[in-house]
């Protein structure tokens, strides 16, 4: 990352107090990354993002979190989920340990989703699109323009105010779009 990028600040706050001595000492004694190291980190992370094993690890981690969240919402523990699935507790333990080489098949994910009463989305997206999570609404992706479709939202648009739709591959019209279609 360049010096310029490094200095890109998302929140600059006013000067008010001084640091406590112990923190000041910590800051003074911690070595700062050099621009060359920052660039190296960018490069290393880019290599990770291109590594299928890393991508699989990240995805497994997310699935484990989704399962844990759904279990929490449904009031299920490992035993009760195992019973619901007709599997052993050890099986659930293996599924929830994303460091173990347990590979999820789509069939397995569908079974677990059904048992937990949650939706399953398995998607592969081009680099130009990404998933956007809108709390309490839906899981969607960046909108790409099509002839019969609303214009794409600016990347900086608030995800909480703007409604996004699934993609131009499987266009699900937004309620606003649907309304304008019906009225015309």
């Amino acid at each position: 990352m360049s010096n310029k990028a490094e200095k890109r600040v998302t929140a600059a706050l006013p000067t008010q107090t001084s640091l406590p001595d112990d923190l000041a000492s910590l800051f003074n004694n911690t070595r700062q990354a050099t621009p060359a190291e920052l660039a190296r980190m960018e490069k290393a992370a880019a290599l990770l993002r291109a590594d299928p094993a890393f991508l699989a690890d990240v995805s497994k981690g997310l699935i484990v979190e989704d399962i844990l969240r759904a279990m929490e919402a449904a009031g299920l523990n490992r035993n009760t989920l195992a019973t619901k699935l007709g599997k052993s507790r050890q099986y659930i333990g293996k599924i929830l340990d994303d460091e173990q080489p347990a590979n999820f098949t789509i069939d397995t994910l569908a079974e677990i989703s059904a048992a937990l009463g949650v939706k399953l989305h398995v998607r592969m997206l081009p680099e130009s699109e990404h998933m956007i999570f809108v709390r309490g609404l839906t899981v969607t992706t960046k909108v790409l323009p099509t002839a019969d479709f609303p214009k794409p939202q600016a990347k900086t648009a608030s995800i909480f105010e703007d409604r996004f739709v699934a993609s131009n591959i499987t266009p699900f019209p937004s309620p606003r779009h649907e309304q304008s279609r019906m009225s015309s």
């Binding site: 706050l13 190291e37 960018e42 890393f54 990240v58 979190e65």
Partner: protein, 138 residues
């Protein structure tokens, strides 16, 4: 005292769908990027695990798997967490901040050794102090 949030190299927008991920910088210095750069060079396995958890953190409401993220058990350190390189030694402390925008703010690190309960507590303590500073100033 100038308090600001800076980007962490390699943490892309793809990893920040729910939470933005930033490092806290005070008076132009931070306690995160130097250690991360060192882990990348000397302990790539731990670095990879930390990057994986960072990616997960940015994409879910809260991390529930305690092998990845552990909340401080000390009641004095309310709302501070550590990212763990599972079966590794790298630890990255952070807190969630949700007033103006949803941000995960990484504050400091430590390298776990065999008997590092004290070091962990000190790292949580430092994180907690930085959380208080950030909250007061915003």
């Amino acid at each position: 005292m100038a308090v600001e949030l800076i980007q962490i190299p390699g943490v892309t927008n793809h990893h920040q769908l729910v939470w933005q991920i930033r490092a806290l910088q005070i008076n132009g210095r931070n306690l995160v990027l130097g250690p991360l750069a060192e882990w990348e060079r000397k302990s790539p396995g731990d670095y990879k695990k930390i990057m994986k958890v960072l990616s997960n953190i940015g994409q879910v409401d809260r991390i529930r798997d305690e092998k990845k993220v552990k909340k401080s058990s000390n009641t004095k350190h309310d709302g501070v967490y550590e990212i763990r390189a599972d079966k590794g030694s790298a630890r990255l402390m952070f807190f969630y901040f949700e007033i103006k925008q949803a941000v995960v703010i990484c504050t400091n690190t430590y390298w776990k050794t065999k008997s590092s309960k004290k070091e962990q507590d000190q790292a949580f303590e430092a994180c907690h102090k930085m959380k208080q500073i950030y909250e007061q100033q915003s």
